[in-house]
Amino acid sequence: MIEVEDLHLAYPQAGGMENPVLAGVSLRVERGASLAILGPSGCGKSSFLYVLAGLIRPTSGRVEIDGHPVEKPRPEVALILQETGLLPWKTVWQNATLGLKLQGVADVKRIKRALRDLGLEGFERRYPAQLSGGEKKRVSLARALAQDATVLLMDEPLAALDALTKEQTQNLILKLWHKHGFTLVLVTHDIEEAVFLGQRIVIFSGRPARVVGTIPNPEMGDPAYRQSQTFFDRVREVRSFFQVPTP
């Protein structure tokens, strides 16, 4: 379970000034649940994810994952970034195992299985430049599975993909979420993606950002959801949050 209480974050600026990014964010995600965070560009939603990943320390507030305060990156928490998460000088295998201490045959088998499950068998020695956009995403997912992550944090992971590959990869993430039961936190600016993958959709807004809306979305979970009337209604409901009255 992820618990965030009254989280404040400010980046120091030149001249001793502070640039406030997050102001009093509180939320909790049950173990194995999925949460989509929506918000305009530059609203601090990526920073929020970095706090959860243990990459930056909040100015104040409480952040806990499974009862432990988050202080540094941990193997059970995987972070997938938008485009450049894979290191171009490392092969698929090296990228998938980055940071893992491989101990024995069991670990190697687990990673091989993860690559196979994601259709990457035979790609182990290729470099990211030799992969398509969708394949690169699958390598990032394989890394998360390889480290046996119980929490998967995704920062606009599919923004650079074409529409069809994006849909396929969303279906794949959904399938993996069902199969492995990890807790999913997805940051996106794509409303359809948020509605497709989030059991709950949280809307960040303002500068510094705070939570301005929470929309339950319990009907998600099936690839066919995309076609349903509920899906379209939910998308409309979410979109209404961002409607700016035209003068």
Binding site: G54, A78, L81, T84, W89, K90, L98, L100, A129
Partner: protein, 261 residues
């Protein structure tokens, strides 16, 4: 394989073009100047004929210059690259030290030559290598610093998130990301290094070492009005430079093979 063959052909062709130009220029001087002055530019054949007669002498000087050059380049690499990566990657260090680096960078290092010479021993090997290191060091330092400062943030973040320690981030992320720029800089450094070693070798020699270097050989051939030998020395320096250049190229193709897919 095809690319390598094409590149080898390119090198051979350029050598041929250079030789033809050299021969033409030599003929031109011969036709227009009086014979005494035209002697300063002998044709390629006359220069090459020096090799069979003096191959042992030239070979030893070649080894001397080559060893100094390689030593200077390696010393600069192992000092400038780690320092440059550190200064470039750590924001606080960067803000603190960058002004210092950029102040030192444009100063022509030649001005320190006499000082080094006195401090490290007149004509000593240490002073020659140290001078070349001084010339090359800042070149490599600045490019390593710049490259490390421009490593995409996402690479570093995803490595940290994967649990890599900060020292490991240098090894797995910052260094490989900066490596192409470092190789480009190393190629430039090769030219600078040859210049520095040449200059150092033309300075006062105490005693006559057979490994005094091509700089010494060319300089003393000049003084003896043996212009064929001067050009034989220049050809030898050219071969040395080209050989090291090709080695650097091979190393880059191996270490940065992800760039040549």
């Amino acid at each position: 394989m095809k690319a390598i063959r094409r590149q080898t052909l390119g090198y051979l062709l350029s050598v041929l073009v250079l030789l033809v130009l050299w021969q033409l220029l030599s003929w031109l001087l011969e036709a227009t100047l009086d014979p005494r002055r035209a002697r300063v530019l002998p044709g390629p054949l006359e220069a090459f004929l020096v090799f069979p007669r003096h191959w042992r002498e030239i070979g030893n000087h070649f080894l001397g210059t080559g060893a100094r050059l390689v030593a200077a380049l390696l010393l600069s690499l192992v000092t400038a690259v780690p320092l440059g990566l550190w200064v470039g990657h750590e924001r606080r260090v960067r803000e603190l030290l960058s002004p210092l680096i950029y102040t030192a960078y444009p100063i022509p290092k030649v001005v320190f030559w006499p000082i080094l010479f006195v401090l490290l021993g007149i004509g000593s090997e240490v002073s020659k290598v140290a001078f070349a290191v001084l010339v090359v060091f800042f070149q490599l330092l600045v490019s390593a610093r710049d490259a490390a400062a421009n490593v995409p943030k996402d690479y570093v973040l995803s490595a940290l998130a994967a649990g890599l320690s900060r020292p490991k981030v240098y090894w797995h992320v910052v260094l490989p990301a900066a490596l192409p720029a470092i190789f480009t800089s190393l190629r430039i450094s090769l030219g600078l290094g040859i210049f520095a070693i040449y200059l150092a070798e033309t300075a006062v020699q105490l005693g006559r070492s057979p490994y005094a270097g091509l700089g010494f050989y060319i300089n003393s051939s000049f003084k003896a009005f043996s212009f064929e030998s001067v050009f034989a020395g220049i050809v030898a320096i050219g071969i040395l430079g080209l050989g090291l250049y090709v080695l650097i190229e091979i190393a880059e193709r191996w270490l940065c093979r992800w760039k040549y897919l």
